[in-house]
């Protein structure tokens, strides 16, 4: 049993924290307002190796483990949840499945540009008529000569509007049910691929969330990821992993909210004293700090399971994601409460964090779906 970060994890935390505070924090309110995808942030992060944290050096990545990815995503999300999820998606929803299930050619072709920031990654599972029920998807891909012909629409895709490389799921065999789903690597300029509606989101507003439309989209045969019919497995395996860093995003937002709450409660005076002197405020602060601490440990533990090479950690990852998302919403609520009326104005950061926090209970599997995963594992 050892709770210490390794020497390189400590250094990573130190440098990412400083980078996030100095470079990302000042633009966070701007991109929240404009909704403009933060390319400048990404260029800077690429230079530091943050776009390929968990990708081995030979493919242009930084070669760190998943606990390190969690640490980095937490520090980034603590000041900018938008940038946090962009990094998380690039690493674990796009680069990771290519690393894990791709051929050597696919890894050599697609991982270096994802790590260098030349191209940003995205993943398309969700459709207008299929969210939680992944196997309910309607997209299809049929093999014709050297190409798969992809048809269908993906909705709510983070990075969707700005990405260059997409991992997309579709049925290659509808009869086989979820065992008939396959995964594909799709490049942005593939004929038959266009962008649909850009979402005007409540929080994480600069994530280029966009619909992907495939109309007889011709994908070269060699862009099949894994084997035909492996798509569902790839999807679930990838979500297990990405729940680690999405949990970390939740912890980051919650920590950011606590930072704001502590600062404000020491400055704001009521009844002749700083409001942090009031026991009811202290109670909230204590609860928040405890919730965050627990969530962080759960996230690290899920990362530890992955780093140790444990075959099955769906339960641990789902628990971490479920708990961290529910506490981030609660922590943001308490932090806003501590701000009183000022928290309800755009003049204070907590208003943004409150909006950002809510997404955690929705994407990468809603909280209900996490509980479903946990309960299934319990009753297997």
């Amino acid at each position: 049993m050892n709770f210490d970060l390794t020497s390189d994890q400590k250094m990573l935390q130190d440098q990412v924290r400083k980078f996030a505070r100095t470079e990302l924090a000042p633009v966070a309110p701007e991109i929240d307002k404009s909704g403009e995808f933060p390319w400048e942030n990404l260029k800077k992060m690429a230079k530091l190796g943050l776009l390929g944290i968990i990708i081995p050096e030979e493919y242009g990545g930084s070669g760190f483990d998943f606990i390190s990815l969690a640490i980095a995503v937490e520090e980034i999300s603590r000041v900018c949840a938008t940038t946090g999820v962009i990094v998380a998606v690039n690493n674990s929803l796009c680069a990771y499945p290519i690393l894990q299930f791709g051929t050597e050619e696919q890894k050599k072709k697609y991982l270096p540009p994802l790590c260098s920031g030349e191209k940003i990654g995205a993943m398309g599972i969700t459709e207008p008529n299929a969210g939680s029920d992944v196997a309910g998807m309607e997209s299809t891909a049929r093999l014709e000569g050297d190409y798969y012909i992809l048809n269908g629409t993906k909705r709510f895709i983070t990075n969707g509007g700005e990405a260059g490389i997409y991992v997309v799921f579709a049925y290659t065999n509808k009869e086989m049910k979820h065992k008939g789903i396959s995964a594909f690597i799709v490049e942005r300029d593939t004929p038959g691929f266009t962008l649909g509606k850009h979402e005007d989101l409540m929080g994480i507003r600069a994530t280029a969330n966009c619909e992907l439309i495939f109309e007889d989209c011709k994908i070269p045969k060699e862009n099949l990821l894994g084997e035909e019919g492996q798509g569902f497995k790839i999807c679930m395996n990838t979500l297990d992993v990405s729940r680690i860093d999405i949990g970390a995003q939740a912890v980051g937002i919650a920590q950011g909210a606590l930072d704001e709450a502590i600062k404000y409660s020491k400055e704001r005076k009521a009844f002749g004293q700083p409001i942090c002197n009031f026991e009811m405020i202290q109670s909230m602060l204590a609860e928040m700090a405890t919730q965050i601490h627990a969530a962080r440990l759960m996230v690290y533990y899920a990362g530890y399971c992955k780093d140790k090479g444990m075959k099955r950690f769906s339960k641990e990852a789902a628990m971490a994601k479920y708990y961290a998302s529910s506490i981030t919403v609660d922590v943001a609520r308490k932090a806003l409460q501590i701000h009183g009326g000022y928290g309800y104005t755009k003049d204070y950061t907590i208003e943004r964090l409150y909006r950002d926090a809510k997404i955690l209970e929705l994407y990468e599997g809603t909280s209900e779906i996490q509980k479903l995963v946990i309960a299934r594992e319990l009753t297997r």
Binding site: Q15, G49, S62
Partner: protein, 256 residues
């Protein structure tokens, strides 16, 4: 070009509440976070910039506790080639002179063309260490350096003076420069460099490695928070009335 840079790990007190500990000679540190002294991080960056431009190597030295190795390791990750910790625990208590004397004892046996330090440490604020090292080594120095270029064995240096004035100097090498914050933009270490630095060795030296006696010249007697004196008086009235009252007060106090 051989470059030595001295860096110090200091408590981050800008946003924290600083309290004096029961000894009365130190502050309570257990709740504080520590980091590289601000000016030293610019000195380190300047060292790496010089190396990148003129070749050679950078040796980062810290006189500090074991935790100072974290600071040195970041220096390695940013581009320093060697790192050396002098065990502070072997030498406390320290004043500016003794610190400089210890550093001098180590640096004198190293190869150097340029020695860099920060111009002030944010914890004790002595601003002595750089200049004293230079004096002990018998080399020139400049403090509050805001620009530093090397041209044929000479340094072209801009220093900050009071009242917004700048001073341009030419200084023969080897020399020591105590740099001011803002001289450059300190970089962040890349993740790859961090992974490499995690495996590098940090040399440690202690009391036995320093020849001769190292003694402090000053003794810290007491640290205290200045008492709040409630003597403020707000003058009211028209500008003329206020001026008159003010002159009267100054006269009464015998200041005129």
């Amino acid at each position: 070009m051989e470059i030595v840079v001295c860096i110090k790990r200091v408590p981050q007190t800008a946003e924290a509440e600083v309290k004096v500990d029961p000894s009365g000679r130190d502050i309570v540190k257990d709740r504080l976070t520590f980091d590289i002294n601000e000016a030293d991080s610019y000195a380190l960056e300047q060292a790496i910039l010089l190396k990148e431009k003129y070749g050679g190597s950078v040796t980062a030295i810290s006189l500090g506790p074991a935790e100072a190795e974290d600071t040195l390791r970041i220096a390695l990750a940013k581009g320093a080639d060697n790192a050396l910790r002098i065990k502070e625990e072997d030498f406390t208590p320290l004043d500016g002179y003794k610190t400089a004397l210890i550093l001098y004892n180590i640096i004198k046996d190293l190869k150097y063309n340029v020695i860099l330090t920060g111009c002030i440490a944010t914890d004790d604020g002595y601003s002595q260490v750089g200049p004293i090292i230079a004096e002990l080594l018998g080399i020139p120095h400049a403090t509050l350096v805001t620009e530093l270029e090397i041209k044929d064995e000479k340094a072209e240096v801009v220093r900050e003076l009071e009242g917004g004035l700048l001073e341009r100097l030419e200084i023969n090498l080897p020399a020591l420069f105590a740099v001011q914050t803002g001289i450059n933009e300190p970089r962040y270490a890349s993740l790859l460099a961090i992974r490499r630095a995690a495996k590098k060795e940090i040399k440690t030296l202690g009391g036995a490695d320093i020849q001769g006696e190292v003694k402090s010249l000053s003794v810290l007697e007491k640290l205290y928070v200045p008492p709040v004196e409630r003597r403020a008086e707000i003058l009211s009235g028209s500008m003329d009335e206020i001026s008159e009252k003010l002159v009267q007060i100054i006269k009464e106090k015998g200041l005129l």
